[in-house]
Symmetry: C2
Subunit: 196 residues, 2 copies
DNA sequence: CCTACCGATCGGTAGG
DNA sequence: CCTACCGATCGGTAGG
């Protein structure tokens, strides 16, 4: 289960959102009913509405919490004084860690955001597009400095982000390798694939 | 739109399934209603049932058509007399082609199979697992013959398959590069990332 | 292929 | 946090 607002009490709303993340990951947002969720939380469906406004508010909460976490990290990396390939590796490792340790939320944010309603939907899409462009800029930087092979940067971003999403399959695998091993292998394949 | 049963007449059922694939890709299976589908096909909802048995039958049709196509291709590759890395490259290119040219069906098969009902669900899961194991075996083969670096084969498969799924983002991108360019870049990053 | 309609389930509210 | 309940929509059927 993901950690929630460290240093603060865990509210009932936090419990509901965390439970919903697991449910949405398993069944998808649209196929998850508020009665399913209430069952897992251990209350009647109507009682959920004392803590949340609507089903869609839960999805908003999950998607934007995750998105903000990635943006904050990106900003730190961008302002650090290391080479482009090191920046990419740091970001890749962060994505891997997030996918391993905050699996449910990250997965839902990645796969279920389509069910957001406007204005949240367009807001999220813009944020997402901007994030990818900033990753592509780092790769462009690496191409200019001859660290990275001469590839189409947006394509490289796309491959990188989706490769990480593959950890989904790892997560539910019965005979999975160690998390550190997984990370090592991913970095090896992806970073070596980019390097000149 | 995907090609349908070449050399045979396109039936109304084929039209319904192809339309459904586009709808399910866009909104997800659970959030797509039979009334949505009927609208797109141009008939009343009740009329759909003269051609299909149920909503879930459509999903079964999509998922197993796609799965069988990949398995048939894999069997040809397995029995060919080329090196392991060439086998992997051929399979990778096939996945890229399928994702580019049969986008809707392949995407739906990949993302919406969870909504299949048993026994189709477990059947599909088994097929999927077997397919991945056979890909991993080819990679193992390449590691033994020193063509491929010493990585965890299942992890490599997972990265490869999910990287291809990234073509989804490419598909709806406004400023997309040429399909041949995309393929070239993907092969460059992935195959180089695997090679020793 | 349509009109008419079914029982089930959905997200959510009222009132206590 | 519960009981009771709402209107809307769902997948699907009967009958022509």
């Amino acid at each position: 289960m993901a950690k929630i607002k460290s240093g603060q009490n865990v509210t009932k709303k936090d419990t509901i959102v965390a439970t919903a993340a697991a449910l949405f990951r398993e069944k998808g947002y649209a196929a998850s009913s508020m009665r399913d969720l209430a069952d897992k939380v251990g209350v009647e469906a109507a009682s959920l509405y004392n803590h949340i406004k609507s089903k869609s508010e839960i999805l908003q909460d999950i998607c934007f919490t995750v998105a903000n976490r990635f943006i904050n990290h990106l900003e730190k990396v961008e302002s650090s004084n290391v080479s482009a390939i090191e920046k990419i590796e740091t970001i890749l490792r962060f994505h891997i860690h997030q996918m391993i340790h905050n699996y449910e939320e990250v997965y839902v944010s990645d796969r279920e955001w389509k069910h957001l309603e406007d204005p949240y939907l367009s807001n999220f899409q813009t944020t997402r597009r901007t994030y990818r462009k900033r990753l592509a800029s780092i790769i462009e930087e690496g191409i200019k400095s001859k660290e990275i092979k001469n590839i189409d940067a947006p394509t490289a971003v796309l491959i990188m982000l989706h490769a990480v999403a593959g950890i989904e399959s790892w997560h539910r695998s019965t005979q999975k390798i160690d998390a550190d091993e997984l990370e090592k292998n991913m970095v090896l394949i992806m970073v070596e694939g980019l390097k000149k």
